[in-house]
């Protein structure tokens, strides 16, 4: 363990400034059936007025628990069992409920993690901002209404007065997060805790929201305690980083210093696997690229002209009918608009776009879970829609999916054994004995112990569940796997592990991947070819290197630029700083 010297941390302005928040040796425990479980074990950190400090760590590292202890909102049986939290010189671990109520909102604001579930769906957004104003005694009556509109406008909502009269379901994720920022900053707190404020949002939205938050807090002089699992994002947004691992602070210091020279092994791993950073480290990413391009040339031995496409998609269009304004009326939404691409055998093609760009619809059509309105999907030259029952069943064997959410795609009532065995049983492969052997083999393939068989999805971590989903997809020895946002729900470290696993399996088994993602940073690590989708159309299609090095479309550049940490490339040892035309876009 590297000892963490908190006192070496320099205040940003002058050495005489008193820290706003000083956490020393904080310990938080949860009472469970098996006794006390320590979630936070001796964490110390300091936030000076106006400073942005980021806590980085994987899920379960205690970063959110630390933040919730500061605001006195520990969930369930959680209790501070040691150490102090001094806010403005006063220890708030000893404060009573009334003092904490006064502190919350007024002195310490919170921007919660999931914007979709943190606003009450039955109240108008403006009302919920007003509630924050009233609760903290900032304004009442019509003054509050006016102030609420101001706050929403300030948080970057256009047409705030009209928006304030709308309900949360009429807002997009980014707009909801802006409303939550308005609520968090309503009473002008000195400290704002932002708990993974943008992890539920698309990268481009994430960037604009964070840009705005940064500008706003800088202007107001608010200190920010920023919690994230993405090291790249943290380094980009914070002056000071605190890296947490299993309830302990393993490293802390200025952001750039930690990135350039991580001293703790965990931080080193984090730096190495952060996709946002790796994407700029072309060297390490290239190594893997070489391997898959070798495979590419290997597959096309008999000449580059004869490309062996396992799947080709031709002029695919899908129109959804949605209920219109009047009963009986419908309006049409073209989710996928004339999409054409082909995937050579043994390679990875990535389909990139923001949510709503139609990429998941394409995945569903390729998997034959959804009928296209027009166009067709060919597998080895055969039109998938013409397959009869019997041949469709065989098609299912050849093309397997891995879904986004490892928490949703595994039946919670199925043991891991039954989950992986299910495809074998459906397709009548082997008898009970050989199926069990195959399940063991598959678990081994995804590097999980055989004893996992008896366990249930809820006992496994997100990364482990995704491995199970991969094992299930591999059970029938498919030729192609459609990964629909297969790593988006995972922490960066786990994400890196799963990507490595997928990559290794591709080399080992000659698999073809269709990789659907919104995260270009991931694309760089896994894909050979990229199709960028916007509003149902493919706007750019090229090899990964081409897209990253010479993006033709402005939209692609925008996506590239939104990768958190992309702008960190301007560290001195990286050579020429990127021109900051990013800000113009």
């Amino acid at each position: 363990m590297i000892p963490v010297e908190i006192d070496t941390q320099a205040p940003p302005l002058a050495t005489t400034v008193e820290p706003l928040l000083r956490i020393s040796d904080l310990e938080v425990s949860f009472a469970t059936a098996n006794g006390l479980v320590q979630a936070v074990r001796g964490v110390s950190l300091t936030v000076y007025p106006g400073q942005t400090v980021a806590i980085v760590g994987e899920s379960g590292s205690g970063k959110s628990t630390t933040a919730h202890a500061v605001i006195g909102l520990l969930p369930g049986t959680g209790k501070v069992t040691g150490g102090t939290i001094e806010f403005g010189g006063v220890d708030i671990t000893q404060a009573d409920a009334k003092d904490m109520v006064a502190l919350r909102g007024k002195e310490i604001g919170l921007v919660p993690q999931d914007p979709m579930s943190n606003l009450n769906p039955v109240w108008k957004v403006g009302f919920q901002v007003k509630e924050a104003l009233r609760a903290n005694g900032v304004a009442t009556g019509s003054a509050a209404t006016a102030r609420a509109n101001e706050l929403l406008a300030e948080a970057g909502l256009r047409d705030a007065a009209r928006r304030a009269k709308q309900y949360p379901h009429q807002f997009s994720g980014g707009m909801l997060q802006r409303a939550l920022i308005a609520i968090g900053l309503a009473a002008r707190p000195q400290l704002l805790i932002a708990d993974e404020p943008t992890s539920a949002l698309d990268v481009t939205v994430q960037r604009t929201v964070l840009d705005h938050l940064q500008g706003l807090t800088r202007e107001l002089g608010t200190a920010v305690l920023f919690i994230t699992h993405d090291l790249g994002l943290a380094a980009e947004r914070a002056d000071h980083l605190v890296v947490m691992y299993r309830g302990k602070v393993v490293e802390s210091g200025p952001a750039r210093e930690i990135l350039a020279d991580p001293s703790h092994p965990y931080t080193r791993r984090l730096v190495a696997s952060a996709p946002s950073l790796a994407s700029r480290r072309i060297q390490s990413a290239k190594e893997r690229g070489v391997r898959s391009s070798e495979l590419l040339t290997h597959a096309g031995d008999d000449g580059p002209s004869r490309r062996d496409d396992i799947i080709s998609v031709e002029h695919l269009t899908r129109v959804f009918r949605l209920p219109g304004g009047r009963p009986g009326a419908t309006r049409e939404l073209t989710a996928v608009d004339d999409v054409t691409f082909a995937i050579p055998r043994g390679t990875t093609t990535a389909l990139v776009g923001e949510s709503g760009s139609g990429k998941s619809t394409v995945a569903k059509i390729v998997l034959n879970l959804l009928e296209p309105t027009s166009g067709r999907v060919l597998i080895d030259g055969t039109d998938v829609s013409t397959l009869d029952r019997r041949r469709l069943f065989d098609f299912r064997r050849r093309v397997q999916p891995i879904f986004q959410n490892p928490y949703g795609s595994l039946d919670p009532m199925y043991s891991i054994y039954r989950t992986i065995e299910e495809p074998l049983r459906i397709h009548g492969v082997g008898d009970k004995r050989t199926r069990e052997a195959r399940v063991r083999e598959l678990l081994d393939l995804v590097a999980l112990p055989a004893s996992t068989m008896r366990r249930f999805p809820n006992e496994l971590s997100g990364g482990q569940r995704q491995r199970i989903a991969i094992a299930r997809a591999l059970a029938l020895e498919p030729e192609m796997i459609v990964c629909d946002e297969a790593v988006s729900a995972l922490d960066v470290l786990v994400q890196a592990q799963v990507l490595t696993l997928l990559n290794d399996l591709q080399t080992e088994l000659g698999l073809t991947y269709l990789f659907i993602t919104h995260d270009l940073a991931v694309v760089r690590q896994i894909a050979d070819e990229v199709c960028v989708m916007q509003d149902g159309r493919i706007v750019e299609a090229a090899t990964t290197d081409e897209v990253f090095d010479h993006p033709r479309e402005e939209y692609t550049r925008e996506l590239l630029d939104a990768i958190p940490g992309a702008r960190l490339a301007m560290t001195p040892d990286r050579g020429d700083p990127e021109p900051t035309d990013a800000a113009v876009l």
Binding site: A33, R269, S273, L367, L369, F393, R396, R397, Q400, P401, F403, Q404, N405, G408, S409, L410, D411, P412, M413, Y414, S415, Y417, R418, E421, E422, P423, I426, H427, E436, V439, E441, D444, L445, V446, A447, P449, A450, S451, M453, R454, R455, F456, P457, N458, E459, L460, S461, G463, Q464, A469, R472, L476, L493, A496, Q497, T500, D504, E508
Partner: protein
């Protein structure tokens, strides 16, 4: 077998100090079992299951062989014993008609338990299938079934029962009562089942199963039904008690079981005339009813928890 070496960056997954590592050390046996076998394994370790199972066994035994528990005739009543105190051989005393309450409670079990259990089964089969199919397939079929359910909801049970039971004027018995209660009881369960199925239907694991090649019916039976079973089990075990009481209501109105069949419901209904002076007359049949319902509810809870991996205690 392809070898997959444990990469150094994954080492922390398997280190003994992680939770997975700890469990792996103790749980090395890996003979996998089916859902039901797993549930049974777990059920066997639940005290709640054994307590409720013992109670249910007792109740069923009483219902099947009442003569094993008392030598008295429940229909042998002497008015001179009216509202008599408990005496030797008559531990619960006598009701207004001078009948032995203990004997009546013992003999009442058969009609009451049969009505409750059979009606619950009927409702479970009809309501479960209708609700499950409506929720899973959706579309016009769902709309149709939901409207039919609504129509049944709109008819008051007692009123409808009066009308229907008129048809069986001559041959009223337990089965006719079960039939009538079932006809008007299934919509409630159908609605609960439909809600539970709709909640599960769009889960990704159902889509995943379809992508594996499972047919729609197979996903309904293998994935949707077990996941939707929790609320259905709870609703039906609670309903069991209400069916026993509903039988009493019908009997009280003279359209349920004929008077020569002893049932708890009928005794509870009759006891209200002597409620003020002799509350114990009401107490015994009610207590028997409560104990039966409680044991079925406890059994339902235990089964539900045993089926749900999240609620299983290891």
């Amino acid at each position: 077998m392809p070898d997959a070496p444990v990469r150094p960056d994954q080492a922390h997954f398997f280190a003994a100090d992680t939770e997975l590592g700890l469990v792996d050390q103790v749980d090395e046996t890996s003979a996998p079992t089916s859902l039901w076998a797993d549930a049974w394994q777990n059920l066997r370790r639940r005290p709640l299951f054994w307590v409720s199972a013992a109670l249910i066994a007792l109740v069923l035994l009483v219902a099947a062989f009442p003569s094993m528990f008392t030598s008295l005739d429940p229909r042998f009543c002497e008015l001179r014993n009216s509202l008599g105190e408990p005496t030797a051989g008559h531990p619960f005393g006598f009701d207004r008609q001078g009948c032995d309450i203990y004997a009546r409670t013992i003999y009442g079990a058969r009609a009451s338990v049969a009505t409750g259990v059979l009606t619950t089964l009927l409702v479970l089969i009809v309501g479960g299938i209708v609700g499950g199919v409506a929720g899973f397939y959706g579309g016009w079929f769902d709309s149709l079934l939901s409207r039919v359910t609504d129509i049944f909801f709109a008819i008051p049970l007692v009123l409808a029962a009066i009308v229907v039971m008129q048809m069986f004027k001559e041959s009223r018995n337990i089965l006719t009562v079960v039939l009538v209660l079932g006809i008007f009881g299934w919509p409630q369960l159908a609605r609960v089942t439909r809600g539970a199925v709709v909640a599960v239907r769009h889960s990704e694991f159902v889509t995943a199963a379809r992508a594996l090649g499972a047919s729609r019916l197979a996903t309904l039976i293998r994935h949707v039904a077990p996941n939707a079973s929790g609320p259905v089990i709870v609703t039906s075990t609670v309903a069991l008690g209400t069916y026993i009481v509903a039988e009493a209501t019908l009997s009280f109105l003279g359209i349920g079981l004929p008077p020569q069949i002893t049932s708890w419901g009928a005794d509870i209904a009759k006891a209200q005339t002597s409620l003020r002076s002799e509350p114990m007359v009401l107490f015994y049949p009610s207590a028997a009813l409560a104990l039966t319902v409680l044991s079925f509810i406890m059994m339902g809870d235990a089964v539900r928890d045993a089926l749900d991996p999240k609620a299983r205690t290891r």
